[in-house]
Every structure is written in structure tokens, then in C-alpha cells.
Amino acid sequence: MRQRSPSGPGRRSRARGRVAPALSLLVGASVCALAASALFVPGFVFGAEATEVAEPVEATEAVAASEPAAAAEAVEQPETGEPGGAVDGDPAGPAVEETAWPAAASEGALLVTLPWGAGAGEVGLAKPTEGLVRGPEALAVAPDGRIAVLDSVNRRLVYLDDAGSVTGNTVVPLAEPRFLAVDDKRLYVLDCDADRLLVTLDWDGTLMGATALPELDDVVTGMFATPRGPSIEIAHDGVFLLHATGRRVATTAGLATTGAVLRPLSGRPVTTDLDKTARVTFAPGRGVRVKSFRVDKDSLSAAQTSEASPAVAPGRAIEHLVSVDGDGRGGLVIGARLADAEQGVRGRAVLALTRVAAAATASRGITAPDAGSTDSPTMLLADTSLAYVGQPYVVAPDGRVLQPVAGEDGYSIMVHTFPAAEEVRP
């Protein structure tokens, strides 16, 4: 048995897009009605906090007299031009020609929809009146195809097989689980805000240990599983391998906090084996630069092996990078937000994923096609989620792209694949 849940297996996955009418009605109608009633439905945590506690007052504090400030309005006139207008650095970059790749977003295939709720096979949605609407904040795929969904609201993991069927769930003993990384044996869950703990579980739901997150220079922006343990990305600019020393099996009643060792690497891991990392930068008008590094597993040092300027979203101007991932074949998937995407319109194609294939010299690193090349497969994704789900998409180890979408009826996982043609550059 690959997966077993302490709370019982829940084969309630509503595969292929069925809906939950009652639940949808609840979502649609309850926001206003709940706004002042402090009602918290498990799995539906509406931020309608109406009760107040006594205000702590600083004894030595005096309320300063208010005095209207002099009007010094309009020191700066903010930009209000059209998208792509030539203001403050011209985010659209140089003029580019339209290309033939699809203008419409990939529809993908629905893998599963998990209804909102707190029961087996369900995931939580938190919708405050003023605040971040949250759904499951992480999704990860193991090399063997198994999938884990981090249900941050209910503080648990939901396990799915490679076909999208729910096989169980397990409680995660963290106040604010945020990041998730998996391999075939382990699942790593990180709370980088409240508890500042990383817990390790196996696919049976057994808690294997916990490691305190050390003081970091800046915020955590990602986590990856490697054979050496989890690696953590800091402020998009550095990667650390987090070692747990003295790991022991722990129970939810008594987490063990162990020491940790940080080892800096350069760039983001793009293979599960941690033998390669990539650092990708983008500047409007100057395009994308990729530096690849080979990692020495003994010293955990990284040496640069190549640098390239791939054509990301060829023919379209991009606004900024969204994510950089290994494609499972030695290359990269670089996600970018289109500069000419209409703001705030759900369902429009706003993300362009370009697969930068591994070249003949891939053994020495990731060598990307030349700038200006237009044969890199590119796929468009719509930005459709109504709730924060942590990441816009996940590149599975086999190269598929999984897109989490929080909809009215639940949390769906869409599967997209790159166009088959021109996959590998000779």
C-alpha cells in the first residue's frame, strides 16, 4: 500500500470536474452575510472577526496633537499610460514581431477537483473580507507520479495517485504550512512564518522529524527536495541545503527540533539530484540571462558551467519572470508574465512557459538556444485562480505542467503538456 491516511482513506476525489452545488451556493452567498457574524466553518474560514479584545495601552504614550500638514501634492505624477508604454524603463522592452505560437491559453486536462471543505478528499478555502483569499498553498509531484497537495487552511496533506485519485490525508503539525517538496520517499513541509519549522513525513503519513528554520537573511521563496535533503530558496537569490542533524522519528505530541546546517548554493535547483542549478535574471529591454551551475555533491559547492540568453516567450514582450524549473530532460522551463496581458482579467493568457531544451553540451550544464530563436516550445497559461494557491504552476519531474486552480466548486489540478514539435534543439 503506497499511501495510508491516519484519518482514513478518502476516495472522494471528484474527478473530471463535477460540481458541488450546495457548497458553491455557500461560497457565493455567505461572504456578505458572514461579514459581521464571526462564523468559522471548518474548511471555510471567512475572516469575519467581529469580536474585540481590550486594547493594550502604552502607559508612557501620549497622543500627539494633530496638525494638518502643508499640502505638497503631486510631487510625482504616477504613470497611467497604456500597458507597454515607454515609461520608467519601458517594461515592454523593444518592439517585437508576433509569432505563430498559439494566442490562446492551453486548456489542459482536468486531473481532479477537490471540493472545498474539511472532510476526506476535501481542501480548505479561507476567504476573509479584508485579506488574502487562500486555498491549498502548495502542490508537488514525486518522480513516481504521486501527488501531494498542501491543504494550508486545514493544516494537512492530501495524497493523490498519479491518476488524481485521493488516497488519503494526514495532519501536518504546523500552524502555517506554506511550502512543500517531495520525492519518492519523503515529503517536506515548511512553515517559515509562525512555527519556523520544517517537518519531514513519508508517504504513509508518518512524521519523520522536524528541523528548526535558522535565521535567514531574507524571506523564503521556495523549497526543493534533493537526495541530500530539502533545499530552500531565499529571496529568489540564494539556495541553501537544509541538513537536519540528529533526526529522529517524532510524533505529533512531541516534535523534535534539531540543529540545522546551511550550505549556500548558487541559483535554483533544476534537477532532483541537485547536480545542477540555474540562476536566471531578466531586465526589461535586455531579455533573459541564464547561468547554469554544476554542483559538487561532496563539497556542495557550485561552479558555473554556462551562460546563455534564451528566447523566452519568443515574439512577445515579457514583464517579469515567474518561475524557473527543470523540465525533467536536462533543460529548463522558464515562466514569464506577458507584458501585454490585460491586467485583472481572469481567463486571459497571462503566463508564457518556454521550454528551453537541453543542448548537446547539456552534460556540462544547461546550454540554451541563442537569443532570437523562435523554436523553443512555448505554452500559454491563463491566470484563473480565485484564491491564492501558492504557485501559478508546477513542473512535474516528467515535464508535465500542473496548474492549480481554485474555482467556485473546489481546487482543481489541470495538466498541460508542451507542444511536441521542436522539442529538442540539435
Binding site: V45, A69, E73, G84, D218, A341, Q343, S385, Y388, G390
Partner: protein
């Protein structure tokens, strides 16, 4: 805290009945708002970190880590110092009339002294990203980064969660907005409204704002009569990197000023004490010295305080500046 609860509760009823947006009446003509630097916006946001989200509030005590907490729009309005001045020092706006009290919808729809940016690539430190669907909304303060999955933001996410600085992927429904009257400078400058002031027990003699003497930075300066009680004003910036910084202070000079106002510098190597003669050198950036600071925001080892306690004349707290030297 009845005011905001009633306000939002009332809004909820309006929404339920009319299907309208979560938007209180906002005056068509926006009042002028004070100028401020991006460093000030960030320093205010940093001063709120760790406090718990509190719906309908904007209350926290800068530098001291106490107070009730705030929701997402309360964080923004206090860090942006809208809709009025002095909000930063009024740790709790409960007893004051704050109108309009902007919600995320107002930040989203530009119903206030701010405006839309055409692209997220234009975001600078202290701008915001806002979304609203009419029934709920969120607003975050942009800090840095636009690459690799998520910008770094300051936010009050929701019930049960602390105010934080976090990497957050935000979908296309989050639109960029910029406050009016931001003083653009690449230097770390904190003006007097971002000073945390302690006036002592004599409330009537607390720090007050003035424009009487020229040479002040921003819209005004802050002054305090000499006293034997505890009276100080303190600035705490967020240092972008660990290193040495030249520290400057600014005041407006006058014959009634203190000739030896005490200044303490909390650095990563300890506290240093200086004195400044505010009868001269007004209207310029006076170099206090070069001091080491750690990256980040920490009042204990990264702040500047000027004291009216024991002074021999009026003490002026106008602005401070930090320039990295290595």
C-alpha cells in the same frame, strides 16, 4: 472596537441587500496627503511585523511591537499615512474619526490619493498590489523583487496570521498602485512623521509639528520644549544590507533651540551618544558619524534617537538620513 466592526458590518448588510461593492462613500475631492519617502513606508511596515491580523483595525505601536494589530487595508493606510497626518503616532485610531477609512476596494479602484501603474514592472518599494471582487479584497505593500515566482511584500494575510514580510505569488487580479506625494530618493531618509515619539507625562507639551522656521525636510518638522521628563523621538529604518552607514540629522535652527541636544545611535556594536547644537546648521544634513548596522529592521541595534530630556532649549526632530559607505 466598535467603530470598524460597525462599519464593516454595515457594509456587509449593504452588500447583502444591494450586491454592491464593499466601498464606503469617498469624497470626490481628495484632501492633500503628506509627502513621504519610500524608506518611511517600509519602516512603518517593518514596525508592524509580528503583530496579529485584526480585521477592521490599523493599530500598532511603532518600534515597540505592541498594539492590537491591523488588517490588510489598515496596514496600507497607516504605512501610507492616509487619509490624514499623524496616524503613525496615533497607535490606535479607535478614538479618532478616521474618514474615509479606506478598504482594499478603495485601494484597488483608486478611490483615494493614489493611482494606477500600467505595469507591475514599474513597482517600486512602498507601492502596493491590490485586488477586489466586490465582496472581498486584499492589498499588500510591495517590497522588492519581481522574479522567480513571487514578489516580496508586506502584508496582513488574514485571521490567525501575523503581519509579515513574505514572498507571495499574486495573480493577475492584483493590480499595481502608487501613492501620491512620494518623495523619490535613492537614499534612506526618514522624515519626522515616521519618528516614534515619547513625550512623557506632560501631554500638553508633547512633540508638535511646525513650519515656522524654514529649512525643514518634507512638509514640516517636529519640536519639543526641554523637559525633565522622558521625551524623545526615534527613527528606525530598514537597512538593506549589513555595513557602515554615514548618519545624518536635520533640523531647523533658531536661538531658542538646544545647544547640546542629546542624540543616541543604536548600532550593531552598541550605543553611541552624541550632542548636536541646533542653534546653528539648520536646513542641512548634519553628519553625526559613521556607524555599523545590520541588515533589516531592529530598533535595539539600528536606530537614531534625539532627546528633549535635559535639553537647554527647544529640540527639533526633523529628519534623518543613512548613506551606506561600504
Amino acid at each position: 472596537m466598535k467603530r470598524t466592526a460597525l462599519l464593516v458590518g454595515g457594509l456587509a448588510l449593504v452588500l447583502a441587500g444591494l450586491g454592491a461593492t464593499l466601498s464606503p462613500a469617498v469624497p470626490a475631492a481628495q484632501a492633500a496627503i503628506p509627502t513621504m519617502t519610500r524608506s518611511e513606508i517600509v519602516a512603518r511596515a517593518e514596525s508592524a511585523l509580528g503583530l496579529m491580523y485584526k480585521w477592521g483595525r490599523e493599530s500598532w505601536v511603532p518600534n515597540l511591537g505592541t498594539g492590537v494589530g491591523t488588517d490588510c487595508s489598515g496596514l496600507t493606510l497607516k504605512c501610507w499615512e492616509v487619509p490624514r497626518t499623524m496616524l503613525y503616532q496615533e497607535e490606535d485610531g479607535e478614538n479618532a474619526t478616521i474618514y474615509p477609512r479606506y478598504t482594499s476596494h478603495e485601494f484597488y479602484s483608486c478611490s483615494g490619493p493614489w493611482s494606477a501603474l500600467s505595469s507591475r514592472s514599474l513597482l517600486k518599494e512602498g507601492d502596493i498590489l491590490a485586488c477586489s471582487d466586490g465582496s472581498s479584497g486584499h492589498v499588500v505593500i510591495y517590497a522588492s523583487g519581481d522574479a522567480w515566482n513571487s514578489p516580496i511584500v508586506y502584508e496582513a494575510p488574514g485571521f490567525g496570521q501575523a503581519i509579515r514580510r513574505a514572498g507571495r505569488y499574486l495573480g493577475s487580479e492584483y493590480l499595481p498602485r502608487r501613492r501620491s506625494s512620494v518623495l523619490e530618493t535613492s537614499e534612506i531618509i526618514l522624515d519626522n512623521p515616521t519618528a516614534k515619539s515619547i513625550g512623557g507625562s506632560d501631554i500638553s507639551g508633547n512633540w508638535t509639528r511646525s513650519t515656522s522656521n524654514p529649512g525643514y525636510y518634507g512638509d514640516n518638522y517636529q519640536t519639543r520644549a526641554a523637559t525633565s521628563t522622558t521625551a524623545w523621538a526615534r527613527w528606525t529604518p530598514r537597512f538593506p544590507a549589513t555595513g557602515y552607514y554615514n548618519v545624518y540629522m536635520r533640523w531647523t535652527s533658531g536661538t531658542n533651540r538646544a545647544s547640546g541636544a542629546k542624540v543616541t545611535v543604536n548600532s550593531r556594536l552598541g550605543q553611541y551618544t552624541r550632542s548636536v547644537n541646533q542653534r546653528i546648521n539648520g536646513g542641512t544634513w548634519y553628519l553625526l558619524g559613521r556607524y555599523p548596522f545590520n541588515a533589516g529592521y531592529a530598533t535595539g541595534n539600528g536606530s537614531i534617537t534625539i532627546w528633549a530630556t535635559g535639553a537647554n532649549g527647544y529640540v527639533v526632530a526633523d529628519a534623518v538620513k543613512f548613506v551606506r559607505t561600504q
